[in-house]
Symmetry: C2
Subunit: 330 residues, 2 copies
């Protein structure tokens, strides 16, 4: 295992400390239990958005704490759910009197712990579950579909409406609608290596790829021969668009997300391939995002996410956003 680290048990603390120091203008790091809040929170009268999950997917979620997106993030150990007491303490810390909305990726551990956290929280709360991954129904750690990079879209759109003053019920409803309008699929060229394990999560041949991989290295649809980028993009886009069935002419968000070990040059090449797929099907790409947003440690690979937008969602997407990982309009 080749990683920049000191002791395995210190990776999360040291990385979070570095993150918080580098972005002290945007976030505050809390200890015992560990969570990250927006600097200056709570904001009175605003619904507070909290997300979280296992670490190893950076910048998800702490990188999305800030104006126009999350109020707080609860990081668990690598690929391990945060604990209910983390979530309850976070809720207390960021509630501004309008309640908190938990945004949870659909993994059994997260679902169980966020449910307990919601019960323990002493403030009004609701939950949105993301499950955008079309690759498989049920998986190693999931009943139903997995929540993956589409979570970023949900966090951003709900973040925008919460900033505009929407109440808790409206934020929850909006999050569920965006999740329903979002589909993703991933592919791995290599495995990730969990630090505590010290070896790759799965074996994969020099000429193979895992089509439909999960963001913890869970098996996908099938192990297939490495293919040209156009063919990979077509397989993913066909799975996504046949499931999403976007309305003719609807403006789409196209997100190409790196898994951590794939350089930007290849991500833009995959974006180009996905975009040409859209052009060939008369699908309109109205907004784009290319980069590492929901990673899987050091895995080489990427996912594609498509969200069906409308004029209102485009307006919300474009609103001022100021987080460590995404910024525009302010």
């Amino acid at each position: 295992m080749k990683k920049f680290m000191n002791a395995v048990n210190d990776i999360l603390n040291e990385s979070l400390r570095g993150f918080a120091a580098a972005h002290a203008d945007i976030v505050s790091l809390h200890r015992n239990p560990v969570f990250v809040t927006r600097a200056g929170s709570p904001k009175q009268g605003k619904v507070a958005l909290i997300s979280g999950g296992g670490s190893g997917h950076e910048p998800l979620h702490a990188g999305f704490v800030g104006r126009g997106m999350l109020d707080a993030a609860c990081p668990g150990q690598v690929f391990t759910s945060p604990t209910p007491d983390q979530m309850a303490a976070t809720a207390t810390a960021v509630d501004g009197g309008a309640g908190v909305l938990f945004i949870v990726k659909n993994y059994s551990g997260d679902m169980m712990n966020f449910e307990m956290g919601a019960d323990m929280a002493s403030v009004a709360n609701a939950t949105v579950v993301t499950n955008d991954d079309v690759a498989v129904e049920n998986s190693t750690y999931t009943t139903g579909r997995r929540g993956v990079a589409g979570t970023v879209v949900v966090e951003r759109i709900v973040g925008a409406v919460a900033e505009d003053g929407a109440d808790l019920a409206a934020c929850k409803a909006r999050g569920e609608r965006v999740n329903q309008a979002t589909r993703s699929m991933g592919v791995a060229l290599t495995s990730c290596t969990v630090p505590a394990a010290g070896r790759p999560t799965f074996d994969i041949g020099e000429k193979e790829m895992e089509m439909g991989v999960g963001i913890h290295g869970e098996p996908g649809r099938r192990r297939v021969a490495l293919a040209p980028a156009d063919e990979i993009a077509r397989t993913m886009m066909e799975a996504i668009t046949s499931d999403l069935a976007p309305k003719a002419g609807a403006p789409l968000l196209l997100l190409v997300n790196g898994f951590g070990g794939t350089p930007l040059m290849e991500l833009y090449l995959m974006y180009d391939a996905a975009r040409r797929f859209c052009a060939g099907r008369n699908l309109t790409v109205a907004r784009s995002l290319v980069g590492n947003y929901t990673t899987s440690l050091d895995m080489a690979g990427c996912s594609i996410t498509v969200s069906q937008f409308d004029d209102e969602l485009i307006g919300l997407w474009d609103k001022p956003l100021h987080t460590a990982a995404l910024r525009w309009g302010c």
Copy 2:
């Protein structure tokens, strides 16, 4: 070789096409010869900044085209200098009557071609050469020190003064002063793989790292045993700060740059280690940047850059910046 690609010869074109489509609000892509300009350029009366070099270091340089930074970027093939005709055509395209400043990383091929390009350019021009890498004097492709991630700092600061109306001589002088106040050093855990070669540029053992590596995989100071992050950061920071010899109390920029295959979690951990080194030496970190800015294809590794700032440079650093890879204040 596992990469998202179609044909080796199409990688650059397809990646650039994806980049330009994803950021059509910021950049325009030109063909025959290939270069990337700010959308809406030239800007009359403003000195135009042009950088470029071999591809494979994304987002450098095209990702830094935009308000507050570059006016244009000339991408060469992977790890290969762009050609003089590219540079001359770019200069003509972006000159707004105040001349163009070429910002060139110190590699023999780039130096030769940019010199020819400057001669061929039909507009007033000057050149700033970056050579911030303290690892070695002379190298595989370089006489003197290599220009690496410190180039980003030069491009940003000169971009800010050019935006403010500085003339060509002032932009050149400012670029040279920032370069002189900037030092970097890198370390590789793995090699990169150049697509046309199809195999890793160098062999490295499972428990080895290359200390002082160049951004094309050039040898560094020595091949050493993999060490804890704190020790790696200390070695790099000692080399950087002993060479830079910052004034007591001077505000520093601390940049931890990923080489393409290293996840953000590890980069923030390295930033934390470098920051603790600074705290132990009474060095003041005033501004920070952590991410993939000057990469080496899929290499796992990172570099650290330190620039000695002052109040004026901090003010310039903070000015509105709107590029694909870096945005703040607008």
